[in-house]
Structure formats: structure tokens, C-alpha cells
């Protein structure tokens, strides 16, 4: 919990400084808007974190968001499918792709980085190809207004993506921190060999994390499509995998696996979005956007590592 606490303090500090410099930070409109983007980015970041806990990585997130978004637009507006079917279809495609990642990684022992990097290239290409590289929009959402309000509306004054993120986080929190499956994920991520010796089917556990991550990504894909209201296949979701990884790492996940928590990832996501907001509100040139993010992630992880090295030394020097 110490780790999450440190990053939480940083989040509070940044909010306070930004709010002090520009009171508009705490305006209702700004807060709601931020809640919306935290919801959008949070859902797939949880998936990214899940995969990182198993000592893997998923680089295909951004492309998968583009592909699922494009499939959703086309199935609704061009093929005129009923929206529940379209949603199921998109979810199924995402899960199938996630399963393929998991299968290649656990069955053929391919490196997650390579498998999902190929995914990144493949899905982007497919999205552009099926749309013939054209931007496609929802228009006036004739026939799927319900879905639009589910994805882009409000509940009790809160943006739907944020509400969904809360619900998913609660479920994920229980799964990761309270269930057998969650324990197996951590064990397989920390020490796959020992987990195997304890009778855990580590291949299945690891493969399933890719399926779950892809499902969350597919869900994000639907929400993002409605957020932007149209999908440009060549730019939609670009670099989002890196947001997910950055948020997870900032929130305490280790790329070595076996570490991380839902609350940590959520704080990481919030921190990244606050940073973006800060760049806007404080009049920092928006070209520095990525640079600010990179610097903060670097400092956060460095501080954590220094702290860890110190406490490791302390343990080593303890009289036995």
C-alpha cells in the first residue's frame, strides 16, 4: 500500500498546484471532463496492468481500439445490425484476438512483446483496410441512441465511462485481490516455475489475462468511438498502449511481473490525465505534453526504485 500512497500524494499535490495556479481546474465542467477521460483511459489501462502482472505486455491496445471502433461503426451504420449484436460482435472479436495472443505466448513460448507488436501493426492495417482508410462516423445515431447514451451519456451527473470504470474496478479489485484466479495471476507472474510446482496451470492463467485485457480494450474501443463520434482508422487510438503501460507502471506494477494493484493503476491513470489537463490549464506549450508525461513517469519510477534499494539495504544490514 506504501507504493500507492506515495503516488497518491503526488496526485493530490499536482491537483492542488494546478488548482492554485488556475482555479478553473476545480470547475465542474473541467472535473466532469476529466472524469470522462479517466474513465475512457482507465478501462483499458486495467487490462494493461493485468497483463503486466503476469510479467507480460500488451502493445496492441491502440490498434485494437481503432479496429473495434471501426467494426462498431461499420456494423451499426453500414451493415445496420441491431446494436446489442454489434456490441457482442466487437467484444467477441477482441476476445478472440486476446486469446490468439495468449495462445501464441503460452503455447509456442513467443515473447509477449513481439506477439503484441505484430498485433499493433496487424490490427491497425486491418482497420484501415476495411474502412478503405476513410474516416467513418455515427451520424445521428439512428437506431442505436440507447447505446450512444450508454456509452457517452451521464448517470447521476457522472459521465458513463467513469461510472463503468468504477464498476469494472470494483469487480477487478475483487478478482485480483480476493479470488483464487487473482492469486494465481500474481504467483504465475512472480515465479511461474514455483506456481507450476504448486499445481497451477500457469499457461491457462497467463493466456486468460490476455483475453481479459483484450475484452477491456474492446469495451474501451466502443466508448472511444462514441467519444470521438467518428473513427479515423489511421490515427484513432494511436499510442494508447503506452498510456496504459505508463499508468500501470506509475501505479506500482513492475514489468518483472507479480506486482501491482487495481487502486494503483487507477491512481496512475488519474495522474496521467491530470498532467494533460495541467499542461492545458497552466499554458505550457501543448507540444510538451508527452515530455511532461515521460518526465513524471521517469521520476515516479526512479523514486520508487531508490526507496526500494534503500529498504533492501536496511533488511540486509539487520542483525540476524
Amino acid at each position: 500500500m506504501k507504493k500507492e500512497f506515495g503516488i497518491f500524494i503526488l496526485l493530490v499535490l499536482l491537483c492542488a498546484v494546478t488548482g492554485f495556479e488556475n482555479p478553473r481546474f476545480f470547475s465542474q465542467a473541467n472535473l466532469i471532463n476529466m472524469a470522462n477521460v479517466i474513465g475512457l483511459f482507465g478501462i483499458f489501462s486495467l487490462g494493461a496492468g493485468l497483463v503486466i502482472i503476469t510479467a507480460g505486455i500488451d502493445l496492441s491496445v491502440g490498434s485494437m481500439i481503432a479496429l473495434t471502433g471501426m467494426l462498431l461503426v461499420m456494423s451499426l451504420t453500414e451493415w445496420h445490425w441491431p446494436w446489442p449484436l454489434a456490441v457482442l460482435f466487437v467484444a467477441a472479436v477482441a476476445m478472440a484476438l486476446g486469446w490468439a495472443h495468449g495462445f501464441l505466448i503460452t503455447k509456442f513460448r513467443m515473447q509477449p512483446f513481439i506477439v503484441t507488436l505484430c498485433g499493433l501493426l496487424l490490427y491497425r492495417g486491418i482497420a484501415r483496410f476495411i474502412a478503405q482508410d476513410a474516416t467513418k462516423g455515427f451520424g445521428d445515431a439512428e437506431g442505436f441512441k440507447t447505446l450512444q447514451s450508454l456509452a457517452n451519456g451521464k448517470l447521476f451527473g457522472l459521465p458513463m465511462p467513469f461510472v463503468l470504470l468504477i464498476v469494472i474496478s470494483v469487480v477487478m479489485g475483487i478478482v485480483l485481490h480476493r479470488s483464487i484466479y487473482g492469486r494465481y495471476l500474481y504467483a504465475a507472474g512472480r515465479n511461474e516455475e514455483a506456481a507450476r510446482f504448486s499445481g497451477i496451470n500457469t499457461r491457462r492463467v497467463i493466456a486468460s489475462s490476455y483475453v481479459l485485457a483484450a475484452l477491456l480494450t474492446g469495451l474501451s474501443g466502443i466508448l472511444f468511438a462514441f467519444y470521438t463520434n467518428s473513427v479515423s482508422p489511421s490515427t484513432h487510438g494511436n499510442f494508447y498502449e503506452l498510456y496504459g503501460i505508463a499508468a500501470a507502471v506509475l501505479g506500482g506494477c513492475s514489468l518483472r511481473g507479480g506486482e501491482g494493484s487495481v487502486i494503483g493503476i487507477l491512481i496512475g491513470v488519474a495522474l496521467l490525465q491530470v498532467l494533460q489537463n495541467l499542461v492545458n490549464l497552466l499554458g505550457i506549450p501543448s507540444s510538451l505534453n508527452f515530455a511532461v508525461m515521460g518526465a513524471v513517469v521517469l521520476i515516479g519510477v526512479l523514486a520508487d526504485q531508490i526507496f526500494k534499494n534503500r529498504s533492501a539495504k536496511k533488511i540486509a544490514h539487520q542483525p540476524k
Binding site: 500474481y186 504467483a187 510446482f197 499445481g199 496451470n201
Partner: protein, 507 residues
């Protein structure tokens, strides 16, 4: 006799708790092949590590060409012309032959780049000297293990090695490759290179050594010349260490044949198979020299390695054990050799480790019930007297003996029917050892089949009710309690059949 090239006089080395070497002496003449043999833990590797500069002796001196020298590290050893060929090859298999031979001392050309013409030209003659018909441009991963080993020898020669130490060099070679290596050892000796040859295989020693030096318990046990060295004489010298006896006959009810394993083929020895039967209530020891395939057999039994023909019979019923989960469900548990990498997830807490294989018992609808889980962990902490500050302490902060008890706790939280212990007390202090023996005995008396793999002669002789001895992937024989002595174990472990030994499997 020629003046010795190497002389080690009165070398002693103490490690915390053990005297690894006690005034050991060794001399090697130019062009002489000296074999060193001894049981597991007799001090062979410590002696060689002193020659390689890995350890410094506490007492004694090393003389090269009659002059005392200090060997502080690998570079020193290299400078003195001492080279090592380890059991585990030390080559970079992504580079070619010449690059491996000249690794770390590449000659440069006018542009400061590697002068590859020169290294290829210079490597050729060494290969020729070894009678090796391969190109210097061949990548190492394209070569057989035997050829890779030859490349290491070529490297040693290119460093002007005058003494080459070969540690179990034939353990992964085929028969014809072994013969070729032995021939080569003779050829090198004829060229004036001295060889120290360490092997468990007495046949090979017979073949190539001029002299055999036997170590026992960290002391010189004796020497035999080529003419004197027979299998029996060697084994006689190797055994005969003082072994404290603390075997207590157990009054447990025994049910012979309660557990049977048949046709167990491990990936290490795919052409050989192991079959044996063990009684309920007994501790069946598995003795053998390192590399006999005992751990691999254990892993195959519990389904960690696939073995389609394997047959496991438990209490008269044939059961299928294809995955570790199957084994656990049948009550067949393995306490593995490497507790930090295989036995435990050391970054996790005592609680999480203890319940890892049995989580389902402490959960409902897939959710862990923390209270019951804690209770189960506490139960094991109490009954095994696990010395941990709290149930939440991370295992990596505990001592070796305590960690081993956590591994035991993992399995004892369920109901074991067969438990395989692989080197159960390695790296554990004396007090914790005695406790682990007590726990094993108590389990046996409660009706669990205990299989104990151990390379510690004292342990194997004192804890086992019967001993199955393995040699190169097979059980050479099983000793009943009254025949359990060091002599018999060593005979079987070095591959010699003896009349008192029983067959491992009877229908």
C-alpha cells in the same frame, strides 16, 4: 619421475560449519593425467575452485614449476596456464568457432575493428591439433555438444594452457564422443599437457588416467596407479568415512506395494526407464551420484515433465498423473530440490505460499476466505514450528530451514499419500535438519509413502528404511535395511551390480 608441474601442499579450507578440505595434497607432472574421484561432497570441486582462484585456501601452498604462487582469480589461473573445462559449457553459441576461441582478446586491425582474418588463421592450427574437422566459421549452435567442448579445449590450448582441468566432461556426451574425448586426453598428455580429470565414471578413469587420487571427507584417502586401479579398490577408498549412526527402526505398519511407478522416462535419460514399488509407512531413499537422474525422475512422476508411458499405481488402483494438478489431487506431492525457485514464490507471504496449492479448500465461489486461509497458515506454523514473525512475513526474509518448513507446510495443509523429498535438508542448519527428519518419520508412521532423494550419504543411510540406488538414469538395485552401508551404496551408484541388491520392481 619428472619434477611436478603443479603441487598443492596441505591445502585446507573451512566454510561456516564445515571443513571442506583438510590438508589435501596433490601433484601433477607434465604430461600426466591425474583423475580425482570421491563421493558427492568429498571436496573435489572445492579443491578445483582453489586452483581456479574462486576460493582462497585457509592453509597450504600451491607451487607451479616449484615456485609458490597465489591464484587470486580466473585471470591469474589463465596466466599460469591453467584452464577449466566445466560440465556446463562456457561458450557463446551465437558466435563462430574463431570468435569463441579468441573471445576477450581479439586482435585489432588498422581500423580498430576485429582482425577476423587473423583469428580465423590462428584458430585453424588448434583445431587441427585436436583432430577436429570443422570450419572456424561455423556457429557454435550448429555444433554438437562434443564439438563445442572441443572448441573450449582449443581455446585452452590457444591460451597456452599447460594444465587442463576437466570436470565431468563426458556427462552429456554419447559413447563414441566419450571415446574420442578419452583418446584426445591421451594425445594431449603425449604433447606434454597435464590433465586433471574429475569423473564419477570409474570406467573412464581406468581408460585415461595415469594415476587416481581419491578424496574422502575433504582429506586425501589414497592414490592408485593405473595398474592398481580397479573398481573395487576405488570404491573401497571412496567409502569408509566416519558416519554417525542415528537410524531408528520404525515400528510403523508397512503395506508393501502401496505405491508403484512403472516406466518412468525422464527427459534427461529418454532411453532408460525407472520402475519401483514403495511401501506405505516406509521411507524409501534414493541414492546416487549427482546427475544420476533422480530429480528428473521425481519431476516426471508428479507430471511436471510429460511421460506418456508412465504408469502410477496407488493403493492398488492405476491413476493417471499427467499434470502437477493431477498429482496434487491424488495426494502425490513433491518437495523440490530448489526451494527458492521451485518450492516457493519467495516474494509472497508465508500465508500465500502455504495455501497456494490448496486455495480451493479455503474459498467459496472462487473467492478466497481470508479468515480460513489465515487459520490454515497458522495451523502449519504451529504444527511445524515455523519461525516467522507473522503469517504475512515475506518468505524471502526467512532462513533456509524455515523456508523449507514453509514448503512442507504447503503440502501438509492437505492430505499427503505420497511425498517425494528432493534434497530435503540441503543448505539447512543441523537443528532444522533433525526437525525435518522427525517430520518425515512422523508422516511415514501416519501412513504416507516417503520417497527421499538425497546426495548426503549420512542422511541417506540414517533416514531411509530401504535405499534405491540410481546410476545414469536407472535403478541399479535396492538395498534392504540390513544391507544399507556406504560400501554397497557406492558400488551400486557407480554402476556395479552386487548380489545383495534386490530388484526395484516386482509384480
Amino acid at each position: 619421475m619428472t619434477a611436478p608441474l603443479l603441487e598443492m601442499r596441505g591445502i585446507s579450507k573451512r566454510f561456516p560449519g564445515v571443513v571442506a578440505l583438510d590438508s589435501v595434497s596433490l601433484h601433477v607432472a607434465p604430461g600426466e593425467v591425474v583423475a580425482i574421484c570421491g563421493e558427492n561432497g568429498a571436496g573435489k570441486s572445492t579443491l578445483m575452485k582453489i586452483l581456479g582462484g574462486v576460493h582462497q585456501p585457509d592453509a597450504g601452498e600451491i607451487l607451479l614449476d616449484g615456485r609458490p604462487v597465489k591464484i587470486q582469480g580466473v585471470t591469474d589461473a589463465m596466466r599460469f596456464g591453467i584452464a577449466f573445462i566445466h560440465q556446463e559449457l562456457n561458450v557463446l553459441d551465437n558466435l563462430d568457432v574463431a570468435a569463441n576461441v579468441f573471445l576477450g582478446r581479439e586482435p585489432k586491425n588498422a581500423f580498430g575493428l576485429i582482425n577476423s582474418k587473423k583469428i580465423h588463421a590462428d584458430t585453424g592450427p588448434f583445431l587441427k591439433r585436436l583432430g577436429l574437422q570443422i570450419s572456424t566459421r561455423e556457429r557454435l549452435d550448429k555444433l554438437s555438444i562434443a564439438h563445442q567442448q572441443m572448441v573450449e579445449i582449443a581455446k585452452a590450448l590457444s591460451l597456452n594452457a599447460r594444465l587442463i582441468i576437466m570436470d565431468e566432461p563426458t556427462s552429456s556426451l554419447t559413447l563414441s564422443e566419450t571415446n574420442r574425448l578419452l583418446e584426445l586426453v591421451r594425445e594431449l598428455a603425449a604433447q606434454g599437457v597435464s590433465i586433471i580429470y574429475i569423473s564419477h565414471r570409474l570406467g573412464e578413469i581406468d581408460e585415461c588416467a595415469d594415476r587416481v587420487v581419491v578424496l574422502r571427507d575433504g582429506k586425501n584417502a589414497g592414490e592408485l596407479t593405473e595398474a592398481e586401479a580397479t573398481h573395487d579398490k576405488l570404491v573401497n577408498l571412496m567409502v569408509g568415512r566416519e558416519i554417525k549412526s542415528f537410524y531408528v527402526k520404525s515400528g510403523a505398519q508397512k503395506t508393501p506395494g502401496f505405491f508403484k511407478a512403472r516406466n518412468v522416462r525422464s527427459p534427461l535419460y529418454p532411453k532408460k526407464s525407472v520402475s519401483f514399488a514403495a511401501a506405505r509407512g516406509e521411507i524409501l531413499g534414493f541414492a546416487g551420484l549427482v546427475g544420476a537422474g533422480r530429480s528428473e525422475m521425481a519431476k516426471t512422476i508428479v507430471g511436471l515433465d510429460a511421460a506418456p508411458e508412465k504408469e502410477i499405481v496407488l493403493d492398488g488402483k492405476t491413476v493417471s498423473v499427467n499434470t502437477p494438478r493431477d498429482a496434487i489431487e491424488r495426494g502425490i506431492y513433491l518437495v523440490p530440490e530448489n526451494r527458492r525457485t521451485e518450492g516457493l514464490v519467495v516474494e509472497m507471504s508465508v500465508r500465500e505460499n502455504v495455501t497456494l496449492p490448496s486455495l480451493k479448500n479455503f474459498s467459496r465461489l472462487g473467492l478466497i476466505q481470508r479468515g480460513r486461509e489465515c487459520k490454515a497458515a497458522r495451523q502449519q506454523i504451529d504444527s511445524l514450528k515455523i519461525k516467522t514473525p507473522t503469517v504475512e512475513t515475506r518468505v524471502l526474509n526467512l532462513s533456509g530451514g524455515t523456508q523449507q518448513k514453509v514448503v512442507l507446510g504447503k503440502w501438509l495443509a492437505m492430505s499427503p499419500r505420497v511425498m517425494i523429498f528432493d534434497e530435503p535438508t540441503r543448505g539447512i542448519d543441523v537443528g532444522a535438519k533433525a526437525e525435518i527428519y522427525r517430520i518425515m518419520r512422523a508422516l511415514a508412521e501416519q501412513g504416507t509413502v516417503i520417497l527421499m532423494i538425497s546426495s548426503d550419504m549420512e542422511e541417506i543411510l540414517n533416514v531411509s528404511d530401504r535405499i534405491a540406488v540410481m546410476h545414469e538414469g536407472e535403478i541399479t538395485g535396492v538395498l534392504d535395511r540390513e544391507d544399507c552401508n556406504e560400501q554397497n551404496v557406492m558400488q551400486l551408484a557407480t554402476g556395479k551390480k552386487i548380489p545383495v541388491a534386490k530388484a526395484a520392481y516386482e509384480n
